[in-house]
């Protein structure tokens, strides 16, 4: 049985046969090496810092001095810090206030804008435009829009000093956020609708369902997987928020979000360990919210 046989000839596709042990050929080794540039970058700049953030959260660390082990002190501090609590609440306010309306608006627009009709491409384009802009540049623009004599007050004939008090500054950020993000989710919903089989709709039409029934009984349930993806992305984007808060208020007036709190803790107070602890909490929160959302959407699946 162990006599020398001719080297097996590779058949196309045989390399992908599952569950079979086979020799790794020279060609495959070259193939394996091709993934190295990306894998090395991930190892150094994503996986290593990703693991180290857990480690650092247990230390008092200021970058210039060696880390000093403090156990769970950073977490204990955060649990009692009213400023951190406020930052979490502010992030929640921004996330819910911005993304719930943006998702609802995007969904409603998608249903209307999916149709093929003359001039429709242009209307779609108008909503997409803010997505192509950058947060900082657009925040600079919105400072002018929100100015007491700016576009918003002048067109609505109101007199609000948006960026100088807690009761209005957080709403200003939400208004701007809805403007910036609706188009993003509109793109996702339209992409989802485009993949939806047309015959289901036609069947409902034949069965005499009206527009409203067709939306709630056919379109919406079929859109559920996309709505799930959108809402997961929405929470992540909401908690990632940083630039608009920095440019519009610098975090003043109850607009200091979690991410800005991390930034200030790490780089203005030089508390890298404490900032890492916030990052760990943020990570756990995002994972938990993602899992809960996916569960909720799966349970109601048709």
């Amino acid at each position: 049985m162990t006599t020398t046989t001719a080297r097996p000839v590779r058949v196309p596709g045989s390399s992908r046969a599952p569950g079979r042990r086979r020799r790794v050929h020279g060609r495959d080794l070259v193939g394996a090496a091709l993934s190295l540039p990306a894998l090395l970058l991930f190892a150094f700049f994503a996986i290593y810092p990703g693991l180290r953030v857990f480690y650092l959260s247990l230390f008092d660390y200021s970058l210039t001095a060696p880390p000093e082990f403090v156990g769970l002190d950073n977490f204990r501090f955060l649990a009692e810090d009213p400023r951190f609590r406020q930052a979490v609440l502010n992030s929640l306010f921004y996330t819910v206030g911005t993304y719930l309306p943006a998702l609802a608006l995007a969904l409603a627009l998608a249903v209307v804008l999916r149709r093929r009709m003359r001039g429709l491409g242009w209307v779609r384009l108008l909503y997409f435009l803010p997505v192509a802009t950058s947060w900082v540049a657009i925040s600079v623009v919105w400072r002018l829009v929100l100015h007491p004599d700016g576009l918003l007050n002048e067109t609505l004939h109101i007199d609000v000093n948006w960026l100088t008090s807690s009761s209005t500054a957080r709403w200003a950020l939400v208004i701007m956020g809805i403007w910036k993000e609706t188009g993003f989710f509109l793109i996702l919903f339209l992409a989802g609708l485009a993949r939806m089989p047309e015959d289901v709709h036609e069947a409902a039409l034949v069965d005499g369902a009206n527009t409203w029934q067709r939306f709630w009984r056919v379109t919406f349930p079929l859109l559920k997987p996309i709505t799930a993806i959108c809402s997961v992305i929405a929470v992540i984007r909401g908690f990632q928020a940083f630039s608009p808060q920095v440019v519009l208020t610098g975090g003043a007036f109850d607009t200091e979000v979690v991410n800005l709190f991390v930034y200030k803790t790490a780089f203005e107070s030089a508390r890298m360990g404490r900032a890492s602890a916030v990052a760990v909490l943020m990570f756990l929160l995002l994972i938990a919210v993602t899992l809960v959302q996916l569960r909720v959407f799966r349970r109601n699946d048709v």
Partner: protein
């Protein structure tokens, strides 16, 4: 009845776009007319000179050049690393391949915001603070790019590659002559999306490259904004903001199909 829906939808779209138009026109207004009450929609004369203000009074040209340089370099790096890794994960088999791919996908779940403190510490230890290396190298690959390129290369039939092999083409030549031309579409969408994301990137450049020589547009704009809060700075800031918006808006208008693909891809909706 159906037509009635169009009125609010179109009006809403116009309102969305009006803000960008307002910014563009404000950038060209004479200083006194920017905040005139009641609002002056059309300036009495166009002050094209405003567009020169950011270049004359701040290192705006430098920020611009830095943003273009970093954006183009990061995009090219991503195209190379993601295509190579996608090719590797799709068309070769070796131990650990699937594990590596799953690990790459897992990093999609972790946004930069969660790891930037230790990442900064690493860059600090490497001596890359205030350097282009710190801006470019950590952004040199992306999980969704690898995922996308793997999907795209999966659709290239194995028979085609086998034929190339029989003709004596090596691994790299097959990639360049057979696969490359076939996956040009996804590559272009990836390039556009990476460039746009990089153009928007604020937090990381603020950390690793905040000196004047390395500042990118978002960091530079935010700094300019903080120094020009008074009314006299408004025309200059509007000009700067509009100039910073211009490349991505023009890219979007000329390549909107690819842009939309890129966004949809980023959510795995393809």
């Amino acid at each position: 009845m159906r037509r009635l829906v169009w009125i609010p939808v179109t009006a809403g779209g116009l309102a969305f776009a009006a803000i960008l138009l307002y910014a563009a026109i404000s950038a060209l207004k004479p200083g006194g007319e920017v905040l005139a009450v009641p609002i002056e929609w059309w300036p009495s004369r166009f002050e094209w000179h405003n567009l020169r203000l950011p270049f004359e009074e701040t290192p705006f040209a430098r920020y611009y050049a830095n943003s273009v340089f970093v954006g183009v370099t990061v995009t090219l790096l991503n195209i190379v690393t993601c295509t190579l890794a996608g090719y590797s994960f799709s068309k070769f088999s070796y131990p650990g391949r699937n594990v590596a791919f799953v690990v790459v996908l897992a990093t999609l779940m972790v946004p930069l915001e969660v790891i930037y403190v230790p990442l900064y510490a690493l860059i600090y230890d490497l001596g890359w603070v205030n350097s282009f290396a710190g801006l470019i190298i950590p952004a040199g690959t992306s999980a969704f790019g690898i995922f996308l390129m793997r999907q795209a290369i999966d659709s290239v039939p194995d028979e085609l590659l086998e034929a190339a092999r029989l003709d004596g083409a090596g691994v790299i030549r097959t990639l360049l002559t057979i696969i490359g031309p076939l996956v040009r579409g996804p590559m272009a969408a990836l390039a556009l999306f990476i460039f746009l994301m990089n153009w928007d990137s604020h937090l990381w450049p603020l950390l690793v490259a905040s000196d004047d020589d390395h500042r990118t547009l978002p960091v530079g704009l935010a700094a300019m904004q903080a120094n020009n809060l008074g009314a006299s700075g408004i025309p200059m800031m509007m000009a700067a903001a509009v100039l910073a918006l211009l490349p991505t808006v023009v890219l979007f208008l000329s390549l909107q199909k690819r842009f939309v693909e890129g966004v949809a891809m980023s959510a795995g909706l393809r």
